[in-house]
C-alpha cells in the first residue's frame, strides 16, 4: 500500500498495490461497475472452476447487455443463500431461474434467480498471459464436461493421486 498524500495530512488518498477486499465489498464494486455498463478485471480465488479458471487467475467480468441465453457461460452471481459473490457456470436455464454449478464440483449451487446473475466472464489471464476462454464452441465443450462431472472426477482423482504420492514420500523419508 502506497500513501500518496503525506501522512501528516488529515486528508489522505491511498493507492492500493495489493488490494485486499472482502467478498461483500467486491460484490458491491462489481454491481456498481456492471450497472454503469463497464467491465471489471479482478483476481479469483479457489478451485471450483478448475481447470477452466484456476486459483489466482484474473478474469474480466462484463455486463450481459441484453443477452438472454446464459447456458454454458461462466457467470458472476449472488448466491441466494450465502449472499456471496460466486463465479460458476450456468448448466441449465429456465424461465426465470438458472441451475449453476462449478466445473470441478459435484453439487449444484441451487436454483438461482436470473436477477442474481450480474455478469459473465469474457476474458481470462493466467501468469500475466491472456488465455483462450470458451465463449464459442469452447463454451459448449465446457458445459458438457461440467454436466457430466468429467472435470470433477479428474479434479478429485488428481487430488487423491497427489495425496497418495505425498504420503508415499513422507513414508519413505520416515524409513530413511
Amino acid at each position: 500500500m502506497k500513501s500518496i498524500i503525506n501522512s501528516n495530512s488529515d486528508f489522505s488518498i491511498v493507492q492500493e498495490e495489493e488490494f485486499s477486499i472482502s467478498n461483500r465489498a467486491l460484490l458491491e464494486l462489481l454491481q456498481e461497475t456492471l450497472s454503469k455498463g463497464y467491465s471489471l478485471r479482478l483476481r479469483v480465488r479457489g478451485f471450483s472452476m478448475f481447470p477452466c479458471i484456476r486459483d489466482n487467475d484474473i478474469v474480466t467480468v462484463s455486463p450481459l447487455n441484453g443477452c438472454t441465453s446464459y447456458l454454458g457461460l461462466a457467470v458472476a452471481f449472488i448466491h441466494p443463500h450465502t449472499t456471496k459473490l460466486v463465479i460458476h457456470r450456468v448448466i441449465e436455464q429456465h424461465e426465470d431461474i438458472a441451475i449453476i454449478k462449478g466445473d470441478s464440483v459435484f453439487c449444484i449451487d441451487g436454483l438461482i434467480p436470473l436477477k442474481n446473475i450480474l455478469g459473465a466472464v469474457t476474458k481470462l489471464e493466467r501468469n500475466n498471459k491472456p488465455m483462450r476462454f470458451g465463449m464459442g464452441i469452447g463454451r459448449t465443450v465446457a458445459l458438457f464436461f461440467n454436466k457430466t462431472n468429467v472435470f470433477s472426477v479428474l479434479f478429485y482423482a488428481g487430488m487423491r493421486f497427489s495425496r497418495v504420492i505425498r504420503q508415499a514420500i513422507n513414508l519413505s523419508s520416515l524409513h530413511e
Partner: protein
C-alpha cells in the same frame, strides 16, 4: 530534450497547476463507491475497471473533500465549508485541498470545469 518531451512536460505541469479559484469536478469514467466508511475509487479506461492495477481508497476526511467537488464551488469555497465542518485553520485546509486536488488531477480523476474569478 525533444520537442515532444518538452510539450509533454509543459502539458503535465499545466495540468497539475491547482488554482484555489477554480472549480473541479470528478470525471465521469470512474466508479466511486462507499464501502465500510471509505470511498473506493476505480478509474475506468476503455470501459474497463481494473482491481488489479488501479484502485484508490479515500479515508473519511478525504471523502469529505471529494463529495464537495460538485463542479460549482471553487476550492476556496470548499475550504471555507470544510473549515466549518472540521473546525480547522482555513490555511491548513486550503493546503490539504490543494495537495489532494493535485493528486487527483495527476491521476485524471478530476477535471477543471472553469475559472470562476
Amino acid at each position: 530534450m525533444t520537442s515532444i518531451e518538452k510539450d509533454t512536460k509543459i502539458i503535465s505541469s499545466m495540468e497539475l497547476k491547482v488554482d484555489l479559484n477554480s472549480v473541479y469536478l470528478p470525471v465521469r469514467d470512474l466508479i466511486a463507491k462507499d464501502i465500510q466508511g471509505e470511498l473506493i475509487i476505480i478509474p475506468i479506461a476503455s470501459g474497463l475497471g481494473d482491481l488489479e492495477s488501479e484502485i484508490f481508497r479515500l479515508n473519511e476526511t478525504g471523502r469529505a473533500i471529494w463529495d464537495k467537488f460538485d463542479g460549482k464551488r471553487t476550492l476556496k469555497e470548499i475550504a471555507k465549508d470544510l473549515s466549518l465542518d472540521f473546525k480547522g485553520c482555513p490555511e491548513d485546509i486550503e493546503k490539504d485541498i490543494t495537495e489532494i486536488t493535485e493528486e487527483l488531477l495527476k491521476r485524471r480523476m478530476l477535471i477543471e470545469v472553469n475559472n470562476k474569478l
